[in-house]
């Protein structure tokens, strides 16, 4: 049996094709991109070896599969699986795209008590950690799936029905799945963001894996991904959209990624105490995020808060509900003022 340096992850077989293609193409023409790509490629190529050998559906590969599994099963005794569950809420009501085949409406949203339905409801979270009784943080090592790549997870709370038919799709993801050291945990922390080292990977590039290759959750190389997207259809108004992401990103052009962190990272750092990951659920309350926003008014640019500087009047009231200052793009007092994420009662 050939030895393999199998990383602790699984990559679906079609990524292999991508990676292979990329290697071939790289010999033909240089990549006009940016240094971080190299890192990602390097990672992905390592992963690809597992992808090819770890084809569990193919009986002829049974031996290879066993070999790979063995290398993955390291330290099983010292770790435990964890599944941190999230639920999309609109105030006290569970969120849904549709009801009886049409877009589902919710009332009393925002400062003008608007009635609205939804077209999209997706967020990236990263840097997920559990916290023990002594305030020690441990990182959750994420399973590698189409919804989870390295340290970033897409929470996809829309099902592509009703109002979400334009932008959404059927698959959903309402949990963060991975491993932590065995132990007892009483708190949860994560960032509402795509980490900078992956944020500016072009969404439709061959080397950008799921879940980072969704174009509806991407601006461009320079600005990177939308960390969160919630689009509302508001009765009697043009609509109101929340597109979160970093701004003030400096690069040589729209089609090039920045080399240093963006001027306004806009990364909400979320901490939830008194949280048992084995039994509790995180409520993502979009009504709480929007409570200070007038959904019938649009103060500038496209409707809602798109996080860019011209949207100052739309974003300034909303950002504190993420714990952020729109002016600085940073957490205020560690983002403790955020009201959007809380333990489900």
């Amino acid at each position: 049996m050939p030895s393999r340096e199998a990383p602790n992850l699984r990559v679906s077989s079609f990524n292999l094709f991508t990676i292979y293609e990329n290697r071939i193409k790289m010999k033909i023409a240089p990549m006009k991109t940016f240094p971080m790509k190299t890192t990602i490629l390097g990672f992905a190529m390592t992963a690809a070896f597992t992808g090819c050998g770890d084809d569990g559906d193919n009986p002829v590969n049974a031996d290879a599969s066993v070999a790979v599994d063995a290398t993955v099963a390291v330290d099983a005794a010292a770790t435990k699986n964890v599944s941190i569950n999230f639920a999309a809420m609109v105030g006290a009501d569970a969120f849904a795209c549709s009801e009886n085949g049409a877009a589902k409406s919710y009332t009393n949203l925002g400062s003008a008590d608007s009635t609205a339905s939804f077209k999209d409801f997706r967020f990236y979270v990263s840097n997920v950690r559990l916290i023990d009784a002594n305030s020690n943080e441990v990182a959750v090592t994420l399973d590698q799936t189409n919804f989870q790549f390295e340290d970033v997870v897409l929470l996809d709370l829309e099902d592509g029905t009703g109002g979400c038919v334009d932008l959404g799709n059927t698959p959903m993801n309402t949990s963060v799945v991975g491993q932590v050291p065995a132990g007892t945990y009483t708190g949860l922390a994560f960032d509402l963001a795509v980490p900078f080292d992956k944020n500016h990977l072009e969404a439709s590039s061959v080397s950008t894996p799921p879940p980072l290759n969704i174009m509806g959750l991407f601006w461009n190389w320079q600005i990177g991904h939308k960390y969160g997207r919630v689009d509302l259809v508001v009765d009697g108004a043009a609509g109101w959209n929340v597109h979160l992401g970093s701004t003030g990103c400096v690069s040589n052009g729209t089609a090039e990624a920045p080399m240093v962190t963006c001027g306004k990272p806009n990364v909400a750092k979320i901490a939830i105490s008194n949280f048992d990951p084995d039994s509790d659920t995180v409520a993502i309350d979009i009504a709480a995020l929007l409570v200070d926003s007038d959904l019938t008014a649009n103060a500038g640019g496209p409707p809602g808060c798109q996080s860019f500087p011209l949207d100052v009047d739309d974003c300034t009231p909303m950002y504190p509900n993420l714990g952020l200052s729109f002016e600085t793009g940073e957490c205020v007092d560690n983002c403790v003022g955020q009201t959007m994420f809380k333990k489900m009662n």
Binding site: I28, P30, N146, G239
Partner: protein, 398 residues
Amino acid sequence: MRTSLVLSLGVLAASVCGDGGGSSSLDAAVVEVDATLAVDAAVGEVWNWNLPPDIPAPQVPADNPMTQAKVDLGRHIFYDKRLSGNGTQACSGCHFQERGFAEDRVLSLGSTGDTVPRNSPGLQNVAYNSTLTWLNPNFFTLESQMPNPIFGEFPVELGATGNEEAILERFRTDKTYQLLFADAFPEIADPYKFDYIIKATASFLRSMVSFQSAFDREIYWGEEGALSAEAKRGFELSQTERFDCFHCHAGFQFALGTSHINTAFVERGYFNTGLYNIGGSGDYPPDGQGLFEFTGNFADKGKFRAQTFRNIMLTAPYMHDGSVATIDDVIDIYARGGRNVANGPFTGDGRESFLKNEFVHGFEINEVERLELKAFFDSLTDQDFITDPKYSDPWPAE
């Protein structure tokens, strides 16, 4: 759909793994992996898409892998009037290479004289479309879409219905086709069936990749200076929240409804752009109601698939019904935030439509910016593609 996608990807991956030919230049680990999958080698040839390094390959259905022989056959069929019931029209009768395989007619004209209520869209990079045509959300593959123009009766396009056997006999008895079919489907005893005609034509359409425009050469091939400063500013304008082109025209295809081999979560991208708002009702004309025709949801009225920007300067007139004559008119409509139809049966101001997508919010554009935006569109014209002999009519001139 998901199932077939996974199957197709599986075959692609297997064919790559099983391809020992190119592995000598790769490192040892890859060679080992190749060996474990060598038994799966019974798949199509490895197709060279000729893509820039950063562009992922398109999806290919598992039951119709790319081969040069099928592409050759499909090219002959695409340009052959004998595919139509009365022998007067080919696919190329509505899709012209010099126009990126779109047409300059307002509405397409079928082989029997029926007017088709659509302007035929271009075909470059059609293999990447998440769904095909202007509005049908159920055509995930060219193989599923193509029966529509071939057999459709309301309206008639190629008009094969009722003439099936006569059409197949034309292919069966033609000496050129006897060679082409035998090469394309060597394992099939009787390949003179519409299933194989469609598979071959779909393979030809998939082979139509366009990545040689000035924009591509600069951005995707790394050729510094290929893109003018003016076009670059136009691209940047398209990416601003002020113009907001990019919410719908996203990614390398400049169309949200794009899928490729890395796609895990399919995006489709249907939008109401405020082209109509008949009598303030939100309505579109009866023969072009958009996604509503399939979902029956009132909110889906007027939603059409966002088309690519590629070769857009060659594809006038614009929109699903060809009702916008020039690119300047298109820019004016978006700058206004919707079209005002001032008279006739469809009178109404699209800007005020309550069904209009909120990103069509209107913007101020000065003359310099207009020229920059058009320079960007010009930079997406792929002269190589529209003159490439491998996409041209293979038949001798009549």
